[in-house]
Symmetry: C2
């Protein structure tokens, strides 16, 4: 505190410092929970669950208590009533938002949702295994009601689904997501239909065969190094569901090794690299404060999908990586064959997580339409399977024969996560827009990819996205980075050109 | 709460439940910190330190705040004023002790000690590397003063070293430790002198050669399985300093693989198994409460040393394990040769962590005498190197030529840990007493060891030590388990017989 500061200025400076310190504490607790979560999925022996559950629930309630404490409210009020610089304003904006959301919902309701989710998860697992939606239905119904109640606590005057969506995407209006998904539907439904009728000769078998796990691990490590993963601040481990966990000092990725599907594992590695590379590029000077956090799910997913799709599924990438395959495995696929196989459209696939870049978004559109109708009350839980199957028939020309391969396939609803799915598609769309802007700024990105030189792209992403942390809200971040408003145009151009070329479609060129 | 309980009984039941819940919360935070500590030493990439330090310091202050909160004091007062059953009394006794100690010392002093230790650690590392005690001396002096102050806050009327010793051994009087160490000195000084002059032909080279790390890991896993390690509740990883971390649901061990010293690694594995097997046998129904904790350092060390020394350095164990060596490595040592090599006395060794079962305790006696004199003020920090060297000459007949191999070899004092060293010797002594009682109760333990059958010994330790958690104080635990008071007699008998036989000493038989 400066000695010549007036009493009130000094007090404000103190309050600001105390607010920052409080959020650093909360972040410390949440960071600890993050490490425990990583350990649970990657290292923990099976028997460890009871102790781990207890540890995680204690950390979660401590961080909730610190966040919703009266002192947090006092400090926010005090700091907001004074002049702050732009960074200070951004920090307080983020802190206020986090506080309000946590404070609006009674702890009992949060706990009830958490307990119901735990039961729902068990019921969902069994229902899926036995292909019996009835077993899951009552839990889904309860979660829909609890989540409506949750939304009402936050804002009784707004559409409940809109409020829920903000849990994942707090600074992107739902209407934007709706527009994007509508565009994707209009573009992709006819395009996939055309692909189904195309007689283009696309290679699909470049990754057929046996690919031992240790060779896949070695390949993943090599590719991560090539992309620029900093091993001093990260590590790679196998896990059943690939994920990324960590902060600017220590951000770890996991992947999976299926010996008959080396492509799936490698693409997961590249995808998780995108997430990790974002976290590792966050502003160190703001570590632990709301400013040092990554922007929300769509921006995070834009980073993983930019690397997975725009880098990892490009011809240039396969020129770089095909020799790395040949070094480790008994395969003689050419770069072009590998590229085609990595981009084949699975027009008969019913499973979201096995989908390609095109059909993927129709899987999302279907979930989005259904969950919106569930929350608004237009759709009853009991009708979900039929509506699900009808929509698959309408948009993808496929009708699931079982609910296990239909509306029971995803874990999200059993967690009560309504409003999450759209962020996946928003991420893809934003990835296209950002990649296009990067190409405009640095030129010939694919020439460099072919050489294994990722420096310019890394630098562009760091400067235009990562280093800002939560300084800008999403739309502002996009404008600052690309000079334009958030748009699906680049994604539409990208898929039209790429798949038009691959499948000899009429719209292409 | 029973419906027919009177208001006051019901309130007491509530207070007891709230007290237990509070300690479960504290335990949850400390357990989380434990996982973070394990990760830091075993998994964390190098760059992760800044985030990890912050997370650990937040958890440490949260658990301190929960413990020293006024509400903890109120609950303790309320619960203590009522009738409790024996278990309840034990729980409150442990909770009260923990509260008093944490509450007595001002947070600022705790933080000052912690900060000084961090600086002292850096200074110690450099001083040791450069063999320059002067660089470490001022930090050691400051830590001695701070720790005297710390002891004064806890009890200004008692000897400061006695108070510090209780940080590690809260329910064993220092006078007992003094008696034990005096006995060890009187027994071992002449015995080692005699061994030095013995011309017995003890094999020392059974473990000479190259032993690849992967074979050592495989051997460690095999031996852990044979001893009865529950892999569903544990794991084995390499680390530079072997350690054990965890609770009844998830207790992990680490070991090290030095390719020219397979014995060191294997004995470390067996030692850590003893620690882990204790934690894995703690009473599950009291998990998270003070009753579910292990007894203190000497008891913990008794478990690791019982397995390391009484099992792992026995002829029977080497009959079991020598074939396991031969399966994996190019070695033709007999079981007897391996046994002798594993028990050779390193009478010229200056380093505590490389010492054998006999000389080890003289290393401890020297540290104990010096730290006691430092805390009382009888000895000045500047005189430590000379007194250290004099004592090595007097007790072990060796004079260190450098301080790096002398008074700078251990990390403990740089952490401000005065009073810790004696617990190592107490552990060895107690291991002998417990092993002897187990043998009396179950008979022919070594016959079973030879067959790889550890069930009876495991069961005995679980029933007599592990399952009690913190139910009994140390001396009561020893009496319950062995029917006798804590004594060094069994250790003296054990080493007299074993080394008398190995080195043809006169006292033997």
């Amino acid at each position: 505190m400066a000695t010549d500061a007036s009493g009130s200025e000094a007090e404000t400076a103190d309050a600001y410092a105390e607010l920052v310190e409080r959020f650093e504490r909360i972040n410390g607790v949440q960071g600890a929970a993050g490490v425990l979560g990583w350990d649970q999925q990657v290292m923990m022996p099976e028997g460890g669950t009871p102790a781990r559950s207890k540890q995680l629930s204690v950390l979660s309630s401590l961080s909730h208590e610190l966040l919703t404490d009266d002192r947090t409210a006092e400090l926010l009020d005090e700091v907001e009533s004074t002049d702050l610089d732009a960074e200070g304003e951004a920090l307080v904006r983020e802190a206020r938002r986090e506080f309000e959301r946590a404070n609006a919902v009674p702890t009992e309701l949060v706990e009830e949702i958490s307990e119901t989710s735990t039961e729902a998860l068990g019921a969902w697992e069994q229902a899926r295994a036995e292909d019996d939606f009835e077993q899951f239905a009552p839990y889904l119904e309860e979660l829909v009601e609890l989540k409506r109640e949750y939304a009402e606590h936050i804002d009784p005057d707004r559409d409940a689904y809109e409020v829920l969506f903000e849990d994942y995407e707090p600074c992107l209006p739902l209407s934007q997501a709706e527009d994007v998904l509508e565009t994707l539907k209009e573009t992709l439904v006819p395009m996939i239909d055309e692909i189904r009728q195309s007689d283009a000769d696309v290679t699909t078998d470049a990754f057929d065969g046996e690919f031992p796990a240790d060779g896949q691990e070695d390949l993943s490590r090599d590719v991560l190094s090539t992309l620029g993963y900093d091993w001093d601040r990260g590590r790679l481990d196998p896990s059943s569901h690939p994920f990324t966990s960590g902060n600017v000092y220590d951000c770890r990725v996991t992947t999976r090794y299926d010996e008959s599907d080396p492509l799936g594992g490698l693409m997961a590695t590249v995808h998780e690299f995108g997430h990790a590379f974002y976290n590792l590029g966050l502003p160190e000077e703001h570590f632990g404060t709301p400013l040092g956090e990554s922007r929300d799910l769509s921006v995070h997913e834009s980073q993983s999908r930019l690397w997975e799709n725009h880098v990892g599924r490009s011809p240039a990438f396969w020129e770089l990586v095909t020799p790395k395959f040949a070094e480790r495995f008994d395969t003689d696929a050419t770069a072009r064959e590998a590229y085609e196989s990595a981009n084949q459209v699975y027009e008969d696939n019913l499973i979201r997580v096995e989908a390609d870049e095109l059909t993927y978004h129709l899987h999302i559109v279907i979930r989005f339409e259904i969950e919106k109708a569930l929350i608004s009350g237009e759709l009853d839980v009991e009708d979900v399977p039929e509506v699900w199957n009808d929509k698959y028939e309408e948009y993808l020309g496929l009708r699931p024969e079982t609910d296990a391969n239909g509306c029971l396939q995803d874990i999200h609803w059993s967690h009560g996560n309504f409003g999450y799915f759209p962020t996946y598609s928003l991420g893809s769309v934003l990835a296209s827009q950002l990649f296009n802007a990067a190409e405009d700024d640095i030129g010939n990105v694919y020439g460099a990819v072919r050489e294994g030189d990722f420096e310019a792209l890394q630098e562009w992403l760091r400067e235009n996205v990562h280093e800002h942390g939560s300084r800008y809200e999403t739309n502002e971040l996009v404008r600052e980075a690309t000079g334009e408003d958030f748009t699906a145009d680049y994604f539409v151009d990208y898929v039209t050109t790429k798949y038009g070329d691959l499948y000899d479609l009429e719209e292409s060129v």
